[in-house]
Amino acid sequence: MTNVPTPQPSPPVATRPTVSASTAMPAMIKRILPAVATRGRLLALSAVGLAGILIGLAVRNGDQIDDFAATEFISAFGLTIFVPIVALVIASATLGTLREDRTLVYFWLRPIARWQIVLAAFIAGLMILVPLAGLVMAVLAATVGDGSDVAGAIVATLVGVVAYGAMFTFLGLITKRALAWGLVYILIWEGFIGGLSRFAGRLSIRSYTTSALSRIADDPSLLTNPETTPVIIVITAALTIGFLAAATVYMNAMEVD
């Protein structure tokens, strides 16, 4: 057997990532999707969606419905409960399951840039959230409202799914109890603090989804002064990029087991 060799530094090896995003990311997305879209999760979330739609039906043939009540209901059920919860359960599971069953190492210890892993997880989340949440919210809006409500609900859902998706993907990476902390954010921060003042409202994603709904379904009663569309878009983009960047930094510095 060779004895202990004398230490000589060998020629430097490429330090930059040697695998491009175009090859790595599709493969990772393909791997993350089945781990997140488990039967249990999909069943539970569609059940919640169905319950919402049933209640919508109940409210409708309770025959005291009018246009403003429709957006009221979409915002109350959809944007306050359904969209955030669905986003939390799915998005926190993307990096969360990888970390919990210790398979993250099979992505982490590879010559690829770390932001690709984060982006792949985020996109995988969206690929589940957009159809699931979008469909349920569209049907919900259709049962209680008219065309503009449906359009408003869909756009608001998109805004919510993107912003919440990024935040909860990050949350799933940094803590094992992502569900618990996510619920704290949704119920306490958005539910309670968000309502205190207009400024406090701006610190919660819900104000932007609700603004999007009220803008498109043109129902000013939802919010005192809803944000303008460009503001919604800029804020959502900023939040998304911010959370994904934070996740990348965290992933570079973390200890993987």
Binding site: A51, A58, V59
Partner: protein
């Protein structure tokens, strides 16, 4: 290794501290069940464990007895005749008062009795002892029923005793006996009902946190849905009975000669039928869940 004791070796002795085989008689399956029963109660009340495990159980139990003390106080201050209209509760609606304490205790103690055993592999070791799944579950049902009766049956009994002293209680031996019988019956209904619900949900998962959250959500959601379906839509009245928080209190009310009933236009038979239906469903979940459980782990 064992050294014989030489009688004439002066006063000094060296004793063998080695292993002593046990040849006494053993307590068999009944002993094992008692031991699991006792261990479950100790664990739920946080005995033999760090202080923080004692907080929730003690707090919940105290909450269940405070209203009784207040009502007795009213009796003493305002005299037994007036106390009733000033707010001293009757036995039936005392159950309603403490239903929140019972729900919280179920959500905390139910998972505590079942989930850690499976999470920690202790359940597998129980099966390697004279116990089998069924007498294990019997011990757990017994323990949980006793624990829940601490916050349902005994507080009302305590109330009866208190009322007897302050003069608010029933008079005449027959009357007292009848009330005690009613309290025990109602208390058992509440304890057993929530025991089955708590254990059914705790069977579905190993993680105690999920089970506790599940119990609270199921109970609250049942109330919300029952309410919405009967008010918003024109669902039949008996659907009201599926509010699992008020159901046992409603039955308790009916046991006390229907003094206070939660669901007005729901017949007793329908309310009782719903009760037993839900209890049967829970029993099926428990038995089905443990039937399929892997034995060797």
């Amino acid at each position: 290794m064992t050294s014989e004791m030489q009688p004439n070796a002066g006063s000094a002795q060296i004793y063998d501290r080695g292993y002593r085989p046990y040849d006494g008689d053993r307590t068999g399956v009944s002993g094992a069940v008692k031991s699991v029963f006792r261990a479950s109660i100790e664990r739920a009340l946080g005995l033999r464990r760090k202080f923080r495990f004692k907080i929730v159980p003690v707090l919940t139990i105290v909450i269940a007895y405070i209203p009784a003390l207040i009502f007795m106080g009213l009796g003493v201050l305002f005299g037994s005749e007036v106390a009733g209209d000033v707010g001293a509760a009757e036995y039936a609606d005392y159950f309603g008062l403490i239903s929140i304490a019972v729900v919280l205790f179920t959500a905390f103690v139910g998972p505590e009795l079942l989930c850690p055993d499976r999470q920690s592999g202790l359940f597998g070791m129980y099966l390697a002892s004279p116990l089998n799944k069924w007498n294990y579950l019997a011990a757990k049902v017994g323990a949980l029923t006793l624990l829940l009766s601490l916050v349902s049956l005994f507080p009302v009994l305590f109330l009866l005793i208190g009322y007897s002293f302050t003069g608010q209680g029933p008079d005449g031996f027959g009357e007292v006996a009848k009330t005690v019988g009613q309290i025990i019956a109602a208390g058992l209904v509440v304890s057993i009902f929530y025991t089955l619900i708590g254990m059914a949900i705790s069977t579905l998962t190993k993680r105690q946190g999920f089970a506790s959250a599940g119990i609270v959500m199921v109970l609250i959601a049942s109330g919300v849905f029952a309410g919405i379906l009967t008010e918003a839509t024109n669902a039949p009245d008996w659907v009201r009975a599926f509010d699992l928080i008020s159901l046992p209190t409603d039955i308790a009310g009916r046991i006390f000669d229907e003094q206070i009933v939660q669901f007005e236009n729901v017949s007793t038979s329908m309310s009782v039928a719903t009760l037993f239906g839900v209890m049967a469903l829970c029993a099926a979940i428990i038995v089905g869940g443990y039937q399929r459980m892997e034995v060797t782990k």
